[in-house]
């Protein structure tokens, strides 16, 4: 190992430590038999039990799940369309509309949607407004992923399908859709994670009614820190880890079926 490589490795290990130690501490304290996040006392599953009996928290988790599923479904649908449209047609307005909400600080979308829902729709803020808000910013992520995959593909594949007798619709169903499927699935998983994770936009569009997971966590952090937060955090980490593993497996399988080439 050369001197510069050694130097790079030590810098990298420090960076990885910086990334992982805080999360490891959260996981560790979730099993700690103490009210304080101070020192290790002993192993317990008490905080997980407490969580299971926390009705508010379970309701919040259920609500967040409903929001994430609905938002990722609509964002995947609209985002896939947007990705296809931006790739295929020379559009000027749509790319700006799709990618700006992704690039702007979240607070701006949150604030403008808050004003919109209250002033124009006269909507009582709640699940519906959160789903709409999440969909708005997730569309861009799905579109980016779908478009990237389309850009990586040989355009003449679609022409070949037409040339060999497939109608535009058949070309879409038999060629385009199967080939972009890994990107669509990846986009859906990403939207789901973003939605369940989102705090800022949810914070502005939540209203006062139903409890939502990130808001619930925020309140716990701000008002009264109990190790229950550690337990929720650990479970959420586990959930995203599982999602990522599923996404990785799906991607690998699709790459195999699509035959490396499409992934290039």
């Amino acid at each position: 190992m050369s001197r510069s490589t050694r130097w790079l490795w030590s810098a990298a290990i420090l960076a990885y430590a910086f990334l992982y130690i805080p999360l490891a501490i959260v996981v560790m304290y979730s099993f700690n038999d103490s009210r304080l996040n101070a020192e290790w006392v002993g192993f317990t599953l008490f905080w997980y039990e407490a969580l299971l009996n926390n009705k508010e928290m379970l309701l919040a988790a259920r609500n967040s799940l409903i929001i994430a599923l609905s938002a990722s479904f609509s964002a995947t649908l609209l985002g896939t369309m947007a990705g296809l449209a931006i790739h295929r047609y020379k559009l000027k307005v749509l790319p700006v509309l799709v990618f700006t909400p992704v690039a702007m600080p979240e607070i701006l979308l949150g604030v403008s949607l808050l004003l919109f829902f209250l002033q124009v729709l006269n909507l009582t803020l709640g699940m519906i407004s959160i789903i709409i808000a999440h969909t708005t910013f997730c569309i861009g992520f799905v579109a980016v992923i779908v478009r990237a995959r389309l850009q990586g593909m040989d355009e003449s594949i679609f022409e070949a399908a037409r040339d060999l007798g497939a109608s535009p619709w058949q070309t879409f169903r038999l060629i385009t859709l199967p080939l972009i499927m890994p990107a669509v699935v990846a986009g859906a998983l990403m939207s789901f994670t973003l939605s369940i994770d989102d705090f800022v936009i949810t914070f502005f569009t939540k209203g006062v009614g139903e409890p939502i997971l990130p808001i619930q966590i925020y309140t716990m952090i701000k008002v009264a820190v109990t190790p229950e937060v550690n337990a929720v955090s650990t479970l959420l980490m586990l959930l995203t880890l599982i999602m990522i593993i599923i996404a990785g497996k799906l991607e690998a399988r699709n790459m195999e079926a699509a035959g490396g080439e499409a992934g290039k």
Binding site: D154, S156, E159, A160, A161, D163, L164, A257, A258, G259
Partner: protein
């Protein structure tokens, strides 16, 4: 009636004219090649025949019927793409079956014809492979099989051999010729490689800047190029400014500045006083010791300016007394290079009275 008739087709992209009033007619069973440098419009023309693009003016008739309102999938024309464009998520068999399925053929027939097509391109055991498991040459064959399996009236091939290495390319050229002969489907082949065009085609259309410069059999294109572009683009050729002194049906007498009189093959439409160039292929130029044949016509003295040893032949570049360069090929029939001449040697160059061609400016 010609199978495919391209009538006065023009296509603009903004200010750029990709295809400029082109008319070509192609007979059934022909192996026809569109040859030209990149950007000459050959691919645009191909895409208009396939239906991916539409002419701004002019007509494309297939079996006498205007194709303009017919989308690509309804045209009895299939394409072999430069990148092969095999569907990466389908097996070889599914790829080949695709046009048959789209045409709504019964499953039994599809199976039989896929097997037959795989035999035709000598890949009988590859049915269940995926495209990424194939070599370049094998992909090429699958693309060919897929294009031919539903017996189109016309098969378009867009630089299909461009991505293959030299040796494989030669093999595929022979296979292409045989396949076309066997199946009898009309091929329209696009390439920028002149040797490929000469080797494969029944007829060649040489294109340049959206125009067709010449349509002819390969030997005519090579031997009797109609203008300077064709002469220059196809093979090697030396050119010298010349003026016509005497024009007879059998021969022309040209005046080449400071060099003297040259006799070339007769040509229609040439009259005394015309200005242009005298063009001659290197293999038609003989190079010899200066004393030999000095009494003959078309014999001039020069010095060896440079030579290139290529293996089978050596190309000599000879500087003539008027300062122009002329190339001469000398086969290396004995082992090693036939070291007859070195740079700076005084040599004589000569050619047959019917070897040179006069081309108008």
């Amino acid at each position: 009636m010609a199978l495919l008739e391209i009538r006065d087709v023009t296509r603009h992209f903004g200010d750029y004219t990709a295809v400029d009033h082109v008319s070509i007619s192609i007979e059934a069973g022909e192996f026809f090649t569109l040859l030209g440098p990149s950007g000459c419009g050959k691919t645009t023309l191909l895409r208009m025949i396939a239906g991916f693009d539409l002419p701004d003016s002019g007509q494309i008739l297939l079996d006498g019927e205007d194709m303009v309102g017919t989308p690509p999938e309804k045209r009895p024309v299939h394409t072999v793409f430069q990148t092969y464009a095999l569907f990466p998520h389908m097996t070889v068999a599914d790829n080949i079956a695709f046009p048959l399925r789209m045409a709504g053929k019964p499953p039994q027939e599809i199976r039989a014809r896929v097997t037959e097509a795989l035999d035709d391109v000598r890949l009988p055991s590859f049915a269940n492979r995926f495209p990424h498991e194939l070599s370049g040459g094998q992909k090429q064959r699958v693309a060919l099989a897929r294009g031919l399996v539903n017996r189109p009236r016309l098969l378009l091939l867009d630089e299909p051999l461009g991505a293959l290495d030299a040796k494989l390319r030669e093999e595929m050229q022979i296979e292409l010729i045989n396949l076309q002969k066997e199946i009898g489907i009309t091929f329209v082949f696009v390439t920028h490689a002149q040797d490929e065009a000469l080797a494969l085609s029944h007829r060649i259309a040489v294109m340049n800047r959206g125009n067709v410069e010449q349509i002819d059999e390969p030997s005519k294109i090579y031997g009797f190029p109609r203008n300077r572009f064709v002469a220059d683009f196809i093979g090697k050729i030396s050119m010298m400014d010349a003026q016509v002194m005497e024009a007879a049906p059998s021969h022309l007498k040209l005046d080449i500045g400071e060099l003297g009189e040259v006799i070339t093959a007769g040509k229609e439409g040439v009259k005394p006083g015309d200005k242009g160039v005298m063009a001659i292929r290197p293999e038609q130029v003989r190079i010899s010791h200066p004393s030999n044949g000095a009494q003959l016509k078309n014999h001039f003295l020069g010095t060896v300016h440079d030579f290139l040893y290529i293996g089978d032949v050596t190309t000599y570049i000879v500087e003539l007394s008027n300062g122009t360069h002329i190339e001469a090929l000398l086969p290396n029939s004995a082992p090693g290079r036939a070291t007859f001449f070195e740079v700076g040697d005084l040599v004589g160059v000569s050619w047959r009275h019917d070897a040179g061609i006069f081309l108008h400016d």
